[in-house]
């Protein structure tokens, strides 16, 4: 039998002026289950709380109802009071008779009656309350970073710096990501490699960081603090532990037709290669599509030349299984495909290039060794036209509806660099709007115009066509209200960026959500921008939304601090108001699994006794209380009512409804 105490607060005159607290006390004392009812000036005060504690002891109360202000205000206070008096913290219910009663009603009669109903409702609920204990789980003190671009590198370095182990999983043969492909970075024009490669080296040298290059996440199980991840190490046909990165194999390889992905396919590389000079790990890899040995069992030159015997043609994919406490997703981006934009002639003209291709064309380690030569004939372009917003801000279905954010700045950078290096070059930029918020960003763009004489034209290009070897760029000059044609030697498209397509698969494996543009959704757009809705999974870089290098680094460091905060805990205390399943009623239909936003529900085959000494194996739902956040979506989805929520059980809510409706 429950023994309930009811404590009615005057809140000075806040409640007592409109609610006849004496009448409420009298009425509640008569409620079934209530053994004690009292009113007091300020229940939340030291004396008030002592009054509650004494009453709990004296009347052997099993639960307390406090009629006071909103539970959002003092529920936590009274839970602590109850706990201090030896009650379970969850044997406390609050009747909100201030915000939702005394403050909004003027008539004493009306307010008093309502206060009695609200108090009765709370009593009805508490009679079905059960003591709850928040579950505790341990934390694996290791983090996983998915993606080895600047976001992943920064997050890993920061986490390692705090003393925790970090694994980076990178699907390409080297870490470095998109930033490694850039020539210079705005707004300071630092050489990208000069600032990135030291960080890459730091990763390689840190005894806390472990890099799984050319690897992918195969499977993720578990939950915050306790993720079980299976990593697929793809066969690179080179033993990572033996290869010294000397490059002899590359020189000896007779197959040289592979497209150099690092240089945006602008030149070729051998079938065995190291992506670029500063690659981490500095280990060769064999492209099975190009390797003569792997394709037709002929050749085998590299194996013979390799001094350390690192080449292994028979190598197969292998798997590593590790435990992690937290996961950072930093899968990055790629430029969109331009198939829907025939008007810019990208497919038909070699001299129409994307901005990322231009980065390689201008880079000293690129296909032209840093001299700006156009791809078609290797000549210096004299007139270069940039087109901005190619595929960005496009709601027609051809491109992306969002602004890619980085294009205005990198186009200004490209224009500036070209004018500086080749002052005889004419540079035009077609723009719709110039968007340069950020420290020193607008100044940077203005420098391109004022100091370097870049010709910015307000308007969009309608088409690019080839006429006698010249690329004719036809577009609007809206300020002049003219249609103009600029005969150009090179056309650069500021191509929209999109999340790397691998993000879809990762999102599914981690049960985190993606928006209509495939960007990962943060837990709260304003207040939890680096957390995913799934506890223990964090987001860094462009996988969450378009951003430039400094922003990416900030977000990565923010992620790292969140991860460190999590890994620093020995135990994670959960919210005890979570879902639970009555296995006898569960039919295993999977509907609850489909509505759960956290992936907290899984299915297990379990044996049940069915009488007569027999058993049967049934598929039943199983809730992970460490992952469940207690929204209750599953409870309504479940047709048999097998799912219920602690603290807000169906029976309790039905009792509340009955109490409210009792006339």
């Amino acid at each position: 039998m429950q023994r309930i105490g009811v404590f009615i607060c005057h809140c000075g005159s806040n409640i007592a002026a409109t609610v006849d607290v004496e009448r409420v006390t009298e009425a509640l004392a008569k409620e079934p289950g209530v053994v004690y009812a009292v009113n007091y000036q300020y229940m939340c005060s030291e004396n008030g709380q002592q009054l509650i504690k004494n009453a709990i002891a004296e009347h052997r109360l099993t639960g307390i109802v406090v009629c006071s202000c909103s539970p959002r205000m003092h529920e936590a206070t009274f839970r602590k009071t109850a706990e201090a008096a030896g009650l379970n913290a969850y044997m406390v219910e609050i009747a909100n008779i201030r915000e939702q009663c005394s403050w909004i009603h003027k008539d004493i009669e009306e307010a008093t009656e309502k206060a009695i109903v609200l108090a009765r409702t709370a009593v009805a609920k508490i009679l079905l309350d059960k003591p709850l204990t928040a579950g505790e789980t341990g934390v694996t003190k290791r983090a996983l970073v998915i993606g080895g671009g600047i976001a992943g590198i920064q997050a890993a370095l920061d986490i390692a710096d705090a003393g925790y182990e970090v694994d980076i999983v990178e699907k390409r043969p080297t870490i470095g990501g998109r930033m490694a492909q850039l020539d210079k970075t705005f707004p300071t024009l630092d050489c990208s490699a000069c600032i990135l490669t030291p960080k890459m080296v730091d990763c390689a040298q840190s005894d806390k960081i472990n890099i799984f290059s050319y690897s992918e996440v195969e499977e993720v199980k578990g939950f915050v603090g306790n993720f079980d991840v299976k990593i697929r190490k793809k066969a690179r046909h080179v033993d990572e532990t033996k290869c010294t990165g000397c490059g002899v194999c590359m020189a000896s390889c007779p197959s040289k037709k592979g497209l150099n992905e690092f240089n945006m396919n602008l030149n070729n590389r051998p079938a065995i290669y190291i992506p670029f000079a500063q690659a981490i790990p500095n280990v060769a890899i064999i492209d099975p599509e190009q390797c003569l040995k792997l394709k037709s069992d002929k050749c085998g030159l590299c194996q013979r030349k390799c001094g350390v015997g690192a080449i292994d043609y028979k190598q197969e994919d292998s798997f590593v299984e590790r435990k992690y406490g937290a996961i950072v997703v930093a899968t990055g981006f790629r430029p969109i495909k331009l198939d829907n934009f025939n008007e810019f002639g990208y497919a038909d003209n070699k001299d129409v290039v994307t901005s990322l291709e231009l980065e390689r064309l201008m880079n000293a380690a690129g296909p032209t060794k840093g001299t700006l030569l156009r791809p078609s004939d290797g000549k210096h372009p004299k007139v270069i036209t940039f087109i901005q917003c190619v595929g960005s801000r496009d709601v027609s279905g051809c491109g992306k509806p969002y602004c890619s954010k980085i294009c205005c700045m990198y186009t200004a950078k490209h224009a500036m660099l070209i004018r500086e290096k080749y002052p005889d070059t004419e540079v035009h930029v077609f723009y719709i709007d110039i968007r340069t918020p950020g420290k020193n960003y607008d100044e940077f763009y203005r420098r391109a115009v004022e100091q370097y004489g870049v010709d910015y034209i307000k308007g969009m290009v309608g088409k690019v066509y080839n006429e006698n070897g010249k690329l004719m760029v036809q577009g609007s000059d809206l300020l002049d209200n003219k249609q103009i044609v600029i005969p150009s030697d090179l056309v650069v498209l500021a191509t929209a960026i999109e999340p790397d397509p691998s993000v879809r698969d990762i999102a599914t494996k981690l049960t985190i959500s993606i928006d209509t543009n495939d960007f990962l959704t943060e837990a709260h757009a304003k207040l939890r921008p680096v957390e995913s809705p799934t506890a223990g999974v964090f987001l860094a870089g462009v996988c969450q939304g378009p951003k430039d290098v400094p922003e990416t680094v900030s977000q990565a460091s923010a992620c790292a601090s969140k991860v460190i905060g999590l890994l620093a805990k020995d135990k994670l205390k959960g919210n005890p108001c979570v879902s639970h399943v009555d296995e006898n009623m569960c039919t295993g239909c999977s509907q609850c699994e489909q509505v759960c936003p956290y992936g907290a529900i899984t299915y297990i085959d379990k044996e049940f006794r069915i009488g007569g000494g027999k058993t049967e194996t049934r598929r039943v739902a199983s809730v992970n209380p460490a992952v469940c956040q207690g929204c209750g979506a599953c409870t309504v989805t479940c047709p048999s009512g097998a799912m219920d929520l602690y603290g807000f059980s169906s029976a309790q809510i039905l009792k509340e409804v009955e109490a409210i409706c009792k006339r």
């Binding site: 409702t121 809510i653 409706c661």
Partner: protein, 146 residues
Amino acid sequence: MQEITTTHKPLIVAFCCNWCSYAGADLAGSSRLSYPAEVKIIRVPCSCRVNPIFVLKAFQRGADGVILCGCHPGDCHYSTGNYHTRRRMALMFSMLNYFGIEKERTRIEWVSAAEGAKFSQVMNDFAKTINELGENRRLEDLRCKK
């Protein structure tokens, strides 16, 4: 049967999600924005915790109107809860109306924690509507009206 006279006092059950609408109701209170006392609030963690059974139960026990309040779509504390609510209740309310239950007796409103004024206005408006409709006779359980 004895005709129930005009002394009938209407009753409205409001299910409010803890994170937005319940906080909105608190704000209405601290801003002293009144609404009729016949509105009684039940706190639920999320609007998606509200089972259609609860709605029917309220009517059975004598409620004259039931209103669900949740975070605005897109703002759900649990990210997707209110999207489920929106579907479930659109179908449920449509079904109740198909059974001939007055469509004005059920309502969903999205009220944020900052919209105290909206909360009060919604409740005033809903209470007015229910008052005009009068007693719920189509989903009543006479045993509960003794």
